[in-house]
Symmetry: C2
Subunit: 231 residues, 2 copies
């Protein structure tokens, strides 16, 4: 007993030190193996041969751990192919996202849960959405149609179902949010779209987009598409 503890300790001392990256990839591996229910701070610490509290040096809490894991997964999605038409580019990207989601079946649930909890999307997720908007823009989509398109794609973009944006309305103000000019530099397409939407609606129903309208737009697009296939 004492000897084993001693051995573990020796191994521990020579092991590569903990890092945020090591914590996150171990967490992803744990969730891949046993589902998200099998992921606990305590089990994660055990896998990393570390006392539970050591994790809190690298992630603030479990929610931040989940956010970090999502970032790892979004990083697995192929970057957009640039030398084709918009449709092929979107198609390839969404299919790549789907392959990621199939590799990590717990992912869409976690992403959706974090969105439902009104957590601010991480920079990595923002960059993903920004570049997706960029594909549509490069394909000649006017801003309002891009907006609809992003809603229509909804669940296929990242596996979650509805109300993906929510525009941060009612969200707790992020203490380390980027200043607007930095936002615009980093996420040009997202910013452009957000500003267009805000301007559109502000005079009518207040800020944010009309989710009901967007839902019906997507529904009707789908139903019309099906109607065209009727014999």
């Amino acid at each position: 007993m004492v000897e084993i503890t001693g051995q573990t300790d020796a191994v521990h001392r020579t092991r590569t030190p903990l890092s945020r990256a090591r914590v996150l990839s171990a967490a992803v591996a744990l969730a891949d193996e046993g589902g998200v229910d099998a992921l606990s701070m305590r089990k994660l610490a055990q896998v990393l041969d570390v006392v539970p509290m050591a994790l809190y040096k690298h992630v603030a809490n479990k929610n931040e751990l989940l956010d970090g894991m999502i970032d790892v997964l979004v990083g697995e999605i192929d970057p957009p192919v640039t030398d084709t038409d918009w449709k092929t580019a979107v198609r390839l990207r969404v299919l790549s996202a789907r392959r990621m989601l199939l590799r990590h079946p717990w992912a869409s649930g976690v992403i959706e849960a974090r969105l439902k909890a009104r957590a601010a999307p991480t920079p990595v997720v923002m960059a993903y959405l920004d570049s997706m908007i960029g594909i549509f823009r490069a394909g000649g989509f006017p801003l309002d149609l891009v907006h609809h398109a992003m809603h229509v794609m909804g669940s296929r973009l990242l596996g979650f179902s509805q109300e993906l944006f929510e525009d941060g309305a009612g969200r707790e103000p992020d203490p380390d949010a980027l200043p607007p000019e930095e936002m615009a530099a980093r996420y040009p397409h997202l910013t452009e779209l957000a500003m267009a939407v805000a301007h559109d609606e502000e005079s009518v129903v207040g800020p944010g987009c009309d989710d009901q309208y967007e839902f019906e737009f997507a529904l009707d697009l789908t139903l019309d598409g099906l109607a065209r296939l009727l014999p």
Copy 2:
């Protein structure tokens, strides 16, 4: 302290006895108030003025509680309107489902989680899907197109995202599953569709439907619809 306990006890004795329905609606109310994280067997018992273990007389465990709650919610979706065309009928039904999902923001997450856990859909959910298929059939959709349509509608039917059916392949055999003839009687459209899909695929890639094909079908339908709206 003793006096208060005595009072509580007296109230408890005259209270309407626990029932599955009372447990389920209290659980829904609790989730509506505080989200699904606020729902625990212990808190539910407390709200019902009952010892935690008393709940287990009416639901086998927490998963069965969640299934029961889903049934309550699906019961809130309007029945299909019969005296219109298929498109209007589907549209109204899906919009009714959406209103339910907006009333209970935790619902889609729970539904998706239960599906991911490969839990068999409850009879109430089966009946809902069956009658949705019935609308398409009555509208003249051939079986294969209904199949595609159900996949395309996917997230809009009940708020979850993908792989909704999974056909029970790899699912633990349900001990109290209905015999086939009873299935056919209760869910005629679902059974017809399931049999057509099974027959279609069995000779090619084994039972179940080709999820990748269905995903791409829905994706392309969406992209083609967007392309048509380009100026």
